[in-house]
């Protein structure tokens, strides 16, 4: 869609939120990712949407796929919903490569995700793959410091037209015990595709409005508190060039997003009933909210200054390291680099000994 996206400067009224909401041109841009095991129909979903929606609302469907049409990196479809109350709503639909092998690229697509559709393959034989893929989704999100509990998520049980499929109840009990929205689908014929898309679109925009997105989850508050006691998932190795500016134990992946939401919501509008319960639950076990918020703000700033170093790193050793203050030049060599260096010393040593032996001969 070359001409439709207006340049930000043309009608810059207010501000721009970089991740998904662009206030400069009053654009709301949401990234929705279709996740699921290989061959479950994620790309088919996008193809159907691309085929059926009015050409004026959609951009080009870009597929980074192998010669056999298996997604290699992602499929991308921009959809322009148009103006609603002065806001121009845009969705960017992405799929991930489903094959286990492509986890590295799959994870990259999740960066900055606003909403998720989990496309499960309903066939009985594929149940294990569904479970594995869901677990992989949780892990990959944790890697970025996102909590799956806080992200809008809907399930799509695809391939309902095949003969040997699990019942919806079965799929629900295994994949979706929390009872989030789910849809039965036959993506090749388009059944359930738009229902899924409508549902996730609404959830994502509700979240942008600051509504509580997951009302079904009554136990949310408790889970948050439990999650806070967990050690943090540090960020990917790549971001470690500027080290984490605080002991990692506090930078809980789950704690961070929840706090942002809470603090935002409280300032802007009266807290909904469920939410206020959540507050009271938290304040019982935690320092008062105002303190928490301050803590969060400093945490946020530090993280921003430190290069958004929340997220994944599989093995963390650096949590006890004293951290430099935000803004300082990173002097501490990240763990990954240190590890490689210590590794490379013995290797060189053996090489040297080998040559010495050769020379001696």
């Amino acid at each position: 869609m070359p001409r439709r996206a207006p340049p930000a400067h043309k009608n810059s009224k207010a501000k721009l939120k970089m991740v998904s909401i662009n206030y400069a041109s009053k654009d709301i841009c949401c990234k929705i990712v279709f996740y699921g095991p290989g061959l479950s129909g994620k790309t088919t979903n996008l193809q159907y949407v691309h085929e059926k929606i009015p050409p004026s609302t959609r951009g080009e469907l870009i597929s980074l796929a192998t010669d056999q049409d298996r997604t290699l990196y992602f499929d991308f479809l921009p959809v322009d919903i148009g103006k609603i109350n002065g806001f121009s709503i845009k969705f960017q639909l992405y799929t991930v490569p489903g094959q286990v092998y492509y986890n590295a690229t799959r994870k990259l697509v999740l960066r900055g995700v606003d909403g998720l559709v989990f496309v499960a393959d309903s066939q009985r034989s594929k149940m294990d793959e569904n479970i594995e893929s869901y677990q992989n989704l949780v892990e990959n999100l944790e890697g970025y410091g996102y909590d799956i509990e806080k992200l809008p998520l809907v399930f799509q049980y695809n391939k309902r037209d095949l003969s040997d499929v699990s019942s919806t109840d079965e799929l629900e009990s295994i994949l979706n015990p929390k009872g989030l929205s789910h849809f039965e689908a036959v993506a090749t014929q388009g059944m359930g595709v738009f229902d899924t898309l409508k549902c996730i679109s609404k959830l994502v925009l509700d979240q942008a409005k600051g509504k509580k997105v997951v009302p079904e989850r009554e136990v949310l508050g408790k889970e948050v508190i439990m999650a806070e006691s967990k050690p943090a998932q540090p960020e990917r190795v790549e971001d470690l060039k500027t080290p984490i500016t605080r002991p990692r134990i506090r930078a809980s992946a789950n704690l961070f997003p929840e706090k942002v939401e809470l603090s935002k919501e409280k300032e802007a509008e009266p807290i909904p009933e469920e939410k206020s319960e959540l507050f009271s639950k938290e304040t019982k076990c935690e320092p008062p909210l105002s303190e928490k918020r301050e803590e969060l703000e400093t945490e946020k700033e530090e993280m921003v200054a430190g290069g958004l170093n929340y997220g994944q790193e599989e093995k963390k050793v650096g949590s006890e390291q004293p951290s430099p203050k935000a803004g300082e030049n990173p002097t501490i060599i990240s763990w990954s680099v240190t590890k490689q260096r210590t590794k490379s010393v013995p290797r060189g040593f053996f090489l040297w000994r080998f040559f010495k032996k050769l020379l001696n001969r």
Binding site: M18, G82, I84, F87, V109, A208, E238, D239, P257
Partner: protein, 162 residues
């Protein structure tokens, strides 16, 4: 959402655009795009009308992300500059701060060296602007109006109709 929002005000967008324009003028490039690492276009300048900038932004971010992973695998924290050479047009991509990417598209009227020089300079300038945006507390919320949900529902029904 587990995300960090960064709010940039209009005046900053204008400053950024001014800087990008200067870059294009100095380096004689065709156009310049500033893209968020998540794949959202922040702003663009120059001859972009023939380009599908939305898709370009998503692909640039994807390309940069995968290169970053490659860098990690070979033991580099990040490759800060990428360059793609074509027959006519070339593209120079460099990192701006921690979370944005500057892409400059240029042709044979200029040279890679010139583009690289000015892109580096621009990247530093933009970094300070974006850094000041992150340091300030800008907790802005969307005010979409009360009838937003119903309007949205109708609109979605219209567009996503089979």
């Amino acid at each position: 959402m587990g995300q960090e929002y960064l709010v940039i005000y209009e005046e900053e967008i204008k400053k950024i655009e001014k800087i990008l324009n200067r870059l294009i003028k100095n380096s004689q490039a065709k156009c310049a795009l500033l893209v968020d690492k998540d794949g959202h276009l922040i702003t663009r300048q120059g001859f972009t009308h023939s380009l599908d900038t939305t898709a370009l932004a998503a692909l640039l971010a994807g390309s940069f992300a995968s290169t970053k992973e490659i860098a990690r695998l070979v033991g580099e924290p990040e490759f800060s500059v990428l360059f793609h050479q074509g027959k006519k047009d070339h593209i120079h991509i460099c990192l701006v701060g921690e979370r944005s990417i500057l892409a400059v598209i240029f042709d044979d009227r200029t040279t890679i060296g010139l583009v690289r020089l000015y892109a580096k300079e621009t990247s530093e300038e933009l970094t300070t602007i974006l850094a000041s945006a992150t340091e300030e507390k800008r907790d802005e919320r969307t005010k979409m109006g009360s009838d937003f949900s119903t309007s949205l529902e109708n609109k979605l029904d219209d567009i996503f109709a089979e």
